[in-house]
């Protein structure tokens, strides 16, 4: 019963939220209040329900992916926990590389290492392809606590880089709209600041890495701790473009050679 109510209310609640986010009409206090109350009522239910096990047919990919849903959501959209990333719509090869790295213990995160420890390549590839094709709604962005100076520094790193420290812009590889690049570079848009900062820190200290030449290792090593905070906060604030998908690898010449793009 609860599920049914939720399935119905989800489609109704979303236009309300997006209408609230970009008010083009003269502000109507009553409408605004109503939107706020509706959003407050619907959002937690939306985020939670989408992270509860649910499937239509047992012999389906959907049913097989239930092991992912309490952290990454039914469609890979992420949950309201800031440390669990959105995985939907990231390039399939990127997701596959991560799954293999988790299975083999190369990327260290014990809950993931444990879950995929005994899954064969072909199945991990199927999981990766499944989530790479999904385009669920993005969850609303969290408000940032960063000050304007830090956000400006974050914007500079993300959009033009820092020539003095030889840091290329994020958009040089992660796409002009930060939606990633096929086959191996993940989108950054729609991720939360906590997750991005945690990952950048892992790269910086050598806890996370990828196939050589490991371009991200070179970049992360040049970021200071405050750079990590600033760029994470800025990235988490970015608007998601309509129809966000990874870019084609032929559009740009990348500043560093990356093993995952070969």
């Amino acid at each position: 019963m609860r599920l049914l109510i939720f399935r119905k209310s989800r489609s109704q609640s979303l236009p309300t939220i997006s209408g609230f986010a970009t008010p083009k009409h003269p502000v109507n206090i009553f409408r605004l209040l109503r939107s706020l109350i509706l959003a407050a009522l619907c959002l937690p239910a939306y985020a939670q329900q989408e992270a509860v096990p649910f499937y239509k047919a047992i012999d389906s990919v959907e049913a097989r992916m239930q092991g992912c849903v309490t952290c990454h959501g039914q469609s890979g959209q992420g949950t309201n926990n800031g440390y669990f990333p959105r995985i939907a719509g990231k390039p399939a090869a990127y997701l596959y590389n991560q799954l293999v790295a988790f299975r083999d213990g190369v990327r260290k995160y014990p809950p993931m290492n444990y879950l995929v420890a005994y899954l064969p390549d072909a199945y991990l590839r199927e999981m990766a392809e499944h989530f790479s094709k999904l385009r669920p709604e993005y969850s609303p962005r969290d408000a940032t606590t960063m000050d304007a100076n830090a956000l400006a520094r974050g914007k500079a790193i993300a959009t033009s880089g820092d020539a003095a420290k030889q840091i290329p812009a994020c958009i040089a590889c992660h796409g002009a709209s930060l939606t990633g690049m096929n086959p191996g570079i993940p989108g950054l848009v729609g991720l939360r600041a906590t997750y991005i900062a945690a990952q950048l820190t892992r790269w910086r200290v050598g806890d996370r890495g990828t196939v050589e030449p490991d371009c991200m290792k070179r970049i992360a090593a040049r970021l200071s701790e405050s750079d990590v905070g600033a760029v994470s906060a800025y990235l988490a604030q970015q608007q998601v473009p309509a129809g966000a998908s990874p870019e084609s690898p032929n559009l740009v010449r990348m500043p560093f050679a990356c093993g995952t793009q070969r």
């Binding site: 499937y55 047992i58 092991g67 309490t70 190369v106 199945y123």
Partner: protein, 433 residues
Amino acid sequence: MRKAYVIAGAVAIAGIAGLAVMWKLSHKGYLPEPAPTAAMVQVLSATTQLIRQGEYLARAGDCVACHTEPTGKPFAGGRPMATPFGNIYVPNITPDDETGIGKWTNDDFYRAMHNGVTRDGTLMYPAMPFASYTKVTRADCDAIYAYLQSVTPVKQKNRPHELRFPFNRRDLLVGWRTLYFKEGDFQPDPKQSAQWNRGAYLVEGLGHCAMCHTAINRLGGSSEAQAFEGGMIPNQNWYAPSLTSNREAGLGEWSLKDIGDLLQVGVSHRATVYGPMAEVVYNSLQYMTDEDTQAMAVYLKALPQRESEPPPPSSARLVEPAVMESGRRNYEKQCGMCHGSEGKGFPPAFPPLAGNQSITMTSPVNSIRMVLNGGYPPGTRKNPRPHGMPPFAHLLNDEEAAAVVTYIRVAWNNTGTPVTPKQVNELRKLLPE
């Protein structure tokens, strides 16, 4: 006449040259390998047959699980094995002359398997299951030896163990061996069928099931009197259930098909494997033939059952109503979709919880772990795309997790006992999060 000889000779030379080229090409992988036909199988050389047999037996013994690092070269060792006494680094068993077993003879190899003594006379630590492997026949050891000599040699030095004093003193192993090691071949039981005996040979020998399913004491030994009675697996925080109790993983009431499926497929209509047993199925048991799997099933089903008293009645009445209600609420919300409101599950995709011995057995460790961390069964040849269960550690606090585990242990006439938030908390601290 002479011309005919020349032509015949030329044809013969061309033929030989052609064959040589074909052989060379196929050897380099340029030509697709022809599918083996019955005739070809017959002409396999004795060596090839021996090596193939050895490969199968090495899988039955699950050598690869310990002797290979997750991203390392097969059998090159180096994998740290955590024990209560410190880390043991598993040695290189590729046929490299300097760092592996390249210089070992088949006699050396048999002595290692049968007696737990290396080529240079060093006593092995019992992390190597020689107490089980001692039952493996000389012929099977020779086949495994032939297989290991055929794999790619890897030059990789063995890492010294990091064992605490006094366990770093190998001379103490003399005492350990007196207490816990009995050398001896497998003795078939003439009163049992050939199938039962084959199963016993695999379970007690290469399968080394007793390493986990018999309790390990503080000295890392186990007693034969307690064989297969279950126990906590050191350092892994999983409970290996008793194979001799119908109230744990005793298989007396199971069908042979379900036992075989659990071992070889990883899922069955009665239960599903996770954790260390998933590793065993993934690396070893999925490769066993149907005949060998059935033989093991026959033997395991026939293991003597230790207790005769009936299981206790459901203790649902003893659980506080508020706890029961919290457990039921979270069950309906999070678990019911896959396990059904009556706990019947949708086997083999989602295992049943009602009447599932691994839920109701005395130790609640595995049930608590599953609720906290979820799990995927192993992807196997017969079940390459298993269904998985998500973690709930981040959604349920200790009280809620204890209530939901209590609920599944006592609902539907299940005969388990309630668990406390403290038990959940202790495991939560030990487990990956």
